[in-house]
């Protein structure tokens, strides 16, 4: 029993101490292409909330740039896409990435899908949830370089009157209570070592995170 519990402790310690070790996923194509510039295109929306894609997009540029990539200003990108006749996120997501490369010179395109953006009421409690799917696609080859799916939710623990909430929604102040959660979901996608996008060429950890050293997962 003692041996069993000791090995249990060791396993837990190993898990905890490995928290910062880069885990290798299917990132071979990313490592081969080493994209330097990323074009974030307008987010696709699978929710009924009309503001969700804009809020999602607005909060992604700075953390991605701080991750070491060149990030085109998302509001300017939106204007330039509209000039190409791509006024809807759905249209942009269907365009061949190579076409976007011709227009912008970007190495990679980041497609984000808003999968959940909701407030649920459980009695007097309310819980806000956001879920995003991220796909970084090569603008040269069209291949998937990295993907992640993150969820963030908060239980406010505060009694929120659904009627007051509905009125707030009408003056659309509610989307702002989503801001910290969107920030958290983006933060996990970019910084959590088990899922994150390895650091770009302008980041000091770039060489380490793009190196072949580490527990490489066998090819299937």
């Amino acid at each position: 029993m003692r041996a069993a519990s000791l090995s249990m402790v060791l396993v837990i310690l190993a898990l905890v101490s490995s928290g910062c070790a880069p885990k290798r996923r299917q990132l071979n194509q990313l490592f081969a292409e080493k994209p330097k510039s990323i074009l974030i295109v307008p987010a696709a929306n699978q929710t009924p909330d009309l503001e969700a894609p804009a809020v999602t997009l607005a909060l992604l540029g700075i953390p991605l740039a701080e991750r070491g990539y060149y990030v085109y200003s998302p509001a300017l990108v939106k204007v330039l896409l509209a000039d190409m006749g791509l006024t809807e996120a759905g249209l942009v997501h269907q365009v061949p990435p190579q076409r976007l490369n011709e227009e912008f010179g970007a190495d990679a395109i980041l497609f984000v899908r808003v999968e959940d953006w909701s407030t649920k009421y459980l009695g007097i409690y309310s819980s806000v949830t956001v879920r995003f799917a991220y796909e970084l696609v090569s603008a040269r080859t069209g291949e998937l370089l990295w993907s992640a799916r993150t969820t963030a939710s908060s239980d406010s623990g505060v009694s929120l009157n659904p009627i007051a909430m509905a009125i707030s929604a009408a003056v659309h102040a509610v989307s702002q209570s989503y801001v910290p959660l969107v920030g958290r979901a983006h933060g996990v996608a970019l910084y959590n070592p088990s899922v994150n996008l390895p650091a770009g060429h302008r980041h000091e950890a770039h060489a380490l995170e793009y190196s072949a050293v580490g527990p490489v997962q066998p090819e299937p």
């Binding site: 607005a58 701080e66 200003s73 912008f104 010179g105 190495d107 707030s168 910290p180 920030g183």
Partner: protein, 140 residues
């Protein structure tokens, strides 16, 4: 994160305060559990400006915030973040300030060579539109 409370007025629209942005930005590095991440760039009011452009459709406020950010960056040890100059360039172009727009685009291309392709494309497009409008005026 639960500590952040945003008051919800029913009559007035709640502004997203810089404080919230700062809290969101500060929270990011701690989520990984890894070493603290120091910012690489100076961002000034860029986050609010992007918010104003994309969510509030308030280009006027965005222009002011981007201007302020550019001016403040002179006194900062960190370099200006990517995307700020082109964003300001676009808004200045909208106001007919083409020379200022072009010089910002050129500055972005020299600070971030990755952006050179797009910056020179936009610069060329501005020059083309200028010569077109000059030609139209000449015809009159």
């Amino acid at each position: 994160m639960n500590g952040i409370s945003i008051s919800r007025g029913c009559s007035e629209r709640v502004r997203l305060t810089p404080v919230v942005f700062v809290l969101v930005a500060l929270a990011l590095p701690f989520l990984s559990g890894c070493a603290t991440v120091q910012p690489t760039y100076f961002w000034g009011s860029y986050q609010q400006a992007v918010w104003n452009r994309l969510v509030e459709n308030n280009d006027e406020a965005a222009l002011e915030q981007l201007h302020e950010t550019l001016l403040a960056s002179d006194k900062q040890p960190l370099p200006l973040g990517p995307g700020i100059r082109p964003e300001l360039a676009y808004l200045l172009y909208q106001q007919g300030k083409h020379a200022q727009a072009v010089s910002l685009l050129e500055a972005e291309a020299s600070a971030f060579p990755e952006s050179e392709f797009l910056m020179s494309r936009i610069t060329t497009e501005i020059a083309r539109r200028q010569s077109n409008s000059a030609a139209i005026k000449g015809d009159r």
